[in-house]
Symmetry: C2
Subunit: 557 residues, 2 copies
Amino acid sequence: MKIALAQINPTIGDFSGNAEKIISFTQRAVEQGAELVVFPELCVCGYPPADLLEKPTFINRAQETAQQIGIATAGLPVYILLGSVTRNTKHSTNLVGKPLRNAAVLLRRGEIIFEQYKRLLPYYDVFDEQRYFSAAEQQQLFAIGKDQIAITICEDIWNDKNFWPQTNYKEDPVEDLMHQAESGLPKPILINLSASPWWKGKANLRREMLGAVARRYATPVVMVNQVGGNDSLLFDGGSFAMDSTGCLIAQARSFEEDLLVVDTTVAGGNQKSADLNDIASTYEALVMGTRDYVSKCGFSKVLVGLSGGIDSALVATIAVAALGAENVTGIGMPSEFSSTGSIEDSRHLAKKLGIRFEILPIRTLVEEEMRTLAPFFAGTQFGLAEENLQSRIRGSLLMAVSNKYSALVLTTGNKSEMATGYCTLYGDMVGALAVIGDVYKTRVYELAKYANRERELIPLATIEKPPSAELRPDQKDTDSLPPYDVLDPILEAYIEYYEPADKIAKQMNLDAALVADILWLVERSEYKRQQAAPVLKVTQKSFGMGRRFPIAVKTQV
Amino acid sequence: MKIALAQINPTIGDFSGNAEKIISFTQRAVEQGAELVVFPELCVCGYPPADLLEKPTFINRAQETAQQIGIATAGLPVYILLGSVTRNTKHSTNLVGKPLRNAAVLLRRGEIIFEQYKRLLPYYDVFDEQRYFSAAEQQQLFAIGKDQIAITICEDIWNDKNFWPQTNYKEDPVEDLMHQAESGLPKPILINLSASPWWKGKANLRREMLGAVARRYATPVVMVNQVGGNDSLLFDGGSFAMDSTGCLIAQARSFEEDLLVVDTTVAGGNQKSADLNDIASTYEALVMGTRDYVSKCGFSKVLVGLSGGIDSALVATIAVAALGAENVTGIGMPSEFSSTGSIEDSRHLAKKLGIRFEILPIRTLVEEEMRTLAPFFAGTQFGLAEENLQSRIRGSLLMAVSNKYSALVLTTGNKSEMATGYCTLYGDMVGALAVIGDVYKTRVYELAKYANRERELIPLATIEKPPSAELRPDQKDTDSLPPYDVLDPILEAYIEYYEPADKIAKQMNLDAALVADILWLVERSEYKRQQAAPVLKVTQKSFGMGRRFPIAVKTQV
């Protein structure tokens, strides 16, 4: 069968925009000879809609939109399979369980002719689907001409007991579907509608896992994944089709919309987009996430506070790649502790990026604030309060310009800082989006080098100098923290894998007390992270919605 | 049987502190002749532990602590029933599903002699239990002497098809247990270990619902609920026992620890704590929540920015009730737009509360910040940016004093403001805890009157003057918003009940465009709420963890 993989970037709640996109991709698919066009999970409303699903008007709009798409495409000789939310008809009679279904809706000549609901509803990390949906009670094959299709939605295909050492669910919807196939007939084509968020390593994992499924059932597999950024979540697309030996027939682009038409009767093929390596794909994911967050929020312009350091330089570079130099403004806010080099490095960066750059010195503001605080501060020693005060003045200046010009502030903190609390709440943490909040500092350097792959955008001086917050004389990050090449593996072991302190110390041959001190910093900074801007997620365990910790606890590390 | 209701206030992760409390309450229960002492759900680790449950060391500590409690109480002639987390032994062999159980553990003479797991794992509002736990496969009665007990955990008892018009689960654990009772024997005593968060109306609902259960099965019911604040969640305690006709035998105090011993063979009784009305219980809940958040975070002192308005006056009054006047400092930060009355009202309040009060005028800081911003602001008109700037200077001063003196800032915004975005991110929104963030403005007035019930703490002038942010000349809240007695019912209908704009307008006889404008404000302020301090939850739908909305959406109201 000729199947179109319609890899679209929907906006959550933009029913008319999403419908237009679905109709236009369907028309293009028909022009290319497709008999069936497949769209991603919940593409009518966008994924993840979260508690918008609790609004009856939202559900009404989704159901109406699916019908309108049917009407608009009624004249086209094609089956359309798209993801939408529908009401659980069983619920309206028995009043038990959740009232909605995460559905794959099959349209033909203007009518909904078949629906298959999602059976496995994930509830871990960033996923909360049991909060909203009733699971499908069963799977059913559907015949299109002489072919049969086996429809699954995202998680449904991620529970193969032969692939995973342990599984989250007893049921295996793929197995159920394949057991329904009559012997003698061609195997059903396995189709998966996904909204599968990306993180480092996920694209490979997806292909390996689905390759194993294709081989196990000796049948072609077609996976269509959402693309685009929605708040923290970055969907890479990378939709693909495999033949019955698990070989790729075709693979769509990553991090942009795409439309591919494949013939599942043909083995192998060459419609493959090149794979990016880890660093390149992280960079492209961050560019897409920044672009989509800003535009889906209805903005076009951004501000970045430029300190002369590598974090803000990288964020500004990503912003330019995402939005164009004309939409990015850099602001330097030197204090008495800022080195001349820092200001020069920022100016240098701004010039190379071609962005507007302004300097707002904060020295007199710091002095005035210290005078104002005299009733509390007189006679006390310079310390954390005075350091944070500088950072908060910078935050307030950025926000003032943001308000004046309707430009979003991009936060520049990295994951190592957010993990250890080496950042100031309402200071350097201000902003609409934490672009590199899921990138450890050691990886910030790698991304900076990648950003410089064609020409030097980020000045070498910025990359090479020792990291410093420049909030007191001659400060270096290593005054408070171990070097990042020691720190980051500790943080990763703890945050991503929940390793205990003694095990980390032993594995890395470090002092147990040093490791415990660092883990203690992580625990005690939870209150800061809960007031942080949304973080673009590029690892399996990012700060934000997929990591839910209480604040008022007795800390154990 | 003589049963002790041990209503304790555990701290999440404080295993040794919680164990001490459990042992000491057990000793007191024995002294009062109890044969069985019942503690709340998950009291060994505190509720809700959230993703701490993903840390193997946390589970180890919980399991060790339950054993240590057994050893420490081995000499006491009593059964101890307590809530803890245990590993799912099925999971270690079949590797399917979640690896943990939410368990009621029965201890006797130092040994764990019985475990009953929770069967209904809630997954809505603030609850995420399916994220962590496998549900019990079955319920089992347990015999203590000639009596049988039917053990349930919180949600297990909330699914009675005869009480609720619709239910969340197919299973009814209470029905299952009661069907196991042999005829001719006394009915099993129904015991429920709870960590049931409070909100307005919940205490009554709990009693009505359990009264219906007691009558349906003609058996006594004992419900032991956690007390205390954990971040946003406020547990009221209010544990109770009912006889087999659904009449209260005894009811523990609300919002504080308590130990009651009841004899389930005696009908009725008089060990009943008085019920508080809605306003009084909301006030006490906020006092408890403030006290517990501050102390469980390891702090004792707080700061409140006093504007002269009713919100900050109420928060300061709650803080004094929670922490004592000596631990509360008020800071007035007048600008050129602050009325003399506002400063005088704040001074007056501080005097009545007996708290330290300092004035930090912000006028020169505003001027200096405007000078600093000249490259961006020169030639532009006074507007939102200049208003927010004043608020952010105040936030930065509060945080500076907070850092200097290790005192937490209490945020003073109310629910009407947080709903409409009538608040400044990093300005008046700074702070560790949003004390009245779930209280609509019209209820703020009622709470202020309640705070003044014995003597005038909050000056009448503060209560009577028209609300104003005082960020521009002669500003009133009603310049931007309808009066609060119009606004609040609109917000409540939308936020608590998801009513659509047209229905709200019709029901309240309002202009549909006005209602739509307000709902639009709610939608467009989501980004602010996601960076807000934790909000003490006192209604069914509070901002925070129980309300999960995406930011980058196409808004529909």
